[in-house]
Symmetry: C2
Subunit: 341 residues, 2 copies
DNA sequence: TTGTAAGCGTTATCAA
DNA sequence: TTGATAACGCTTACAA
């Protein structure tokens, strides 16, 4: 049964069904696709044969001819991070409902891997791409535009760029989180932000500044620290540093719930209590999905809504006959107060 | 530029490069693939043209001819669950290193969706499949076998079946967790298990029973509760029920860390403290990835190792010339004691 | 070193 | 209602 380099088995093709039923490949194809102009009897005979042989269509071959693959690519930082996992799940679910299949490619927030991901997706002839860009530069977006494959940015956006995007209201989120801490009586608020090339990091930080301004609190650059996925800028190191520096702060606004948890973890290890010693606000409301026994005040950003909207926008792009105006959506963020603040 | 139903853009093909450089399609193909028998000058000219035109190969068309797609499918319950997300990430990363692309399809632990997922993957001509089966029946496995597409089961296995699988030592994990609770002085131990059709649920429960036996503790069926993803059997409901029943227990062995967290969350809501009122042990050691500020005693099962092994086994199957013996791997589990017990 | 021809499995077009 | 033929973009085998 083994046939060397290629597949070690014989896939059933339209030809096999054609031979078995005594009609042409063409007729088989039309019958299985439920086209109108096929005799009832022929159709039944063909479908029965297909069933019996265990026929599964080779959709790739079909795509080559039809030009559509019913496949989209989701390109994001790291699927094991619930932040992305939740979005990937919602996109896959929406896609599956419309018989679309989903490639997931991780960029690990790396510029080169992102480029490879885009090329890989385009090479596989996906009908469209949903991208959470790593934003090290605009180069990959330019590449994507050049390919002509429809795409939507999710969660992050570029300034001076006309791509479609769906994001949440990061600015307002940062503002709400900080304002909440201020209203709770905190005057020295540490902002643990994310990588600064990422728009959501920058915009949440901007919201933080805005709330300080409004609360008549001087902005102190020492109280802004960026964390990332590198060894030298992970939350543990960053927190250790700031605790050693003896900088005064009592409130913390963290870039994400994941970061907030890790920060709390480190604070606890150092003998501090939350919210007694430090009040902390996260971002993402992951606890709506993962019931962690540590009630964290956070900003909810409706990842599922964002994801579904991104999918809808992409589908519209894929199916539209004429290029329409760009779509930019900003999903509301709201404050959810729990007991960490 | 718009062309109606099909793609609203023109992909650059080998033909375009051929026309531009004045050679045949074939020569272009060979040059870009760095075959030996191409003149240095020709190769450079062709590569320059490809670069200039922004050529990205249509790997689907190639696959149709070559029979290999360099694509695998990962079929699992729910990518947004870190349990699966971590495995998906590791698989995708391994695959990407070998220029393989990964489809992710969620089954939502549903039998029919699983069947659709398999058909979808086979239809896309994937070279292989890694499947975390929902195990409602063996039907889908039989289907998969019939297609002839190489596959490996991950995390779960069937009895009386000769499929390749990579799992962790669930039996020993359940045993270690329970033994730890017994050694900590607990005699009434609640076992929150998972859906019973899933092998890992059954095997962990078996380990629980074994530890009880060894500890001379009578097995009490009232202390075994199965949770799932349905409304009626989610951890909240299940815990509420058992607390209302006034059944005595002081230790808890939970099916997963996610379940353990939710159980702790519910216990806290009901005014109980962990580990003061209840000691609890989870499963998965997700805290090696997600730094939740609640140190949970757990069983570590090396998801990344499992995933990488599953990928390796699959690749061996895909590339082997002759069918070799089935591969069954059981990755060690170990107890990690933190402060929830 | 390069070109020609055939073929992968399907769909589209047109003729019968 | 069905069949014959071409085509999708690429790779393979073989000829020049």
């Amino acid at each position: 049964m083994v046939m060397g380099k290629k597949r070690a088995f014989n896939k059933v093709t339209l030809k096999d069904i054609a031979v078995k039923t005594g009609v042409t490949i063409n007729t088989v194809s039309r019958a299985l696709k439920d086209k109108e102009d096929i005799a009832q009897g022929t159709r039944e005979k063909i479908k029965a044969a297909a069933q019996e042989l265990g026929y599964i269509s080779n959709s790739m071959a079909g795509s080559l001819r039809s030009g559509l693959t019913k496949t989209i690519a989701v390109i994001l930082g790291d699927i094991s991070n619930p932040h992305f996992g939740i979005m990937a799940k919602e996109i896959e679910r929406s896609a599956r409902k419309h018989d679309y299949t989903t490639f997931v490619i991780n960029t690990e927030e790396d510029d080169l891997l992102e480029e490879k991901a885009i090329i890989s997706a385009v090479s596989k002839n996906v009908d469209g791409i949903i991208l959470c860009p790593a934003q090290h530069s605009k180069k990959n977006i330019e590449l994507l535009k050049k390919t002509g494959v429809p795409f939507v940015l999710l969660g992050r956006r570029f300034e001076d760029d006309d791509s479609d995007y769906v994001i949440c209201d990061d600015l307002n989120g940062g503002y709400l989180a900080t304002k909440h801490l201020i209203e709770s009586g905190h005057k020295h608020i540490l902002c643990i932000t994310g990588p600064q090339q990422i728009s959501s990091s920058r915009e949440r930080l901007q919201g933080y500044k805005q709330a300080l301004l409004e609360g008549n609190i001087d902005f102190n650059p020492d109280l802004v620290r960026a964390v990332g996925t590198q060894t030298e800028n992970n939350p543990r190191i960053v927190m250790k540093d700031i605790l050693n520096e003896n900088i005064k702060f009592t409130g913390i606004f963290a870039f994400s719930d994941m970061v907030a948890w890790e920060v709390i973890y480190i604070l606890q290890k150092n003998g501090y209590l939350v919210p007694k010693d430090f009040a902390i606000v996260g971002f993402d409301n992951i606890q709506s999905r993962i019931f962690v026994p540590f009630p964290l005040t956070t900003i909810s950003n409706s990842k599922s809504k964002m994801s579904r909207r991104a999918y809808d926008v992409l589908m519209r792009r894929i199916n539209e006959d004429e290029v329409s105006d760009r779509v930019n959506e900003i999903i509301d963020t709201i404050l959810i107060v729990r007991s960490s603040s």
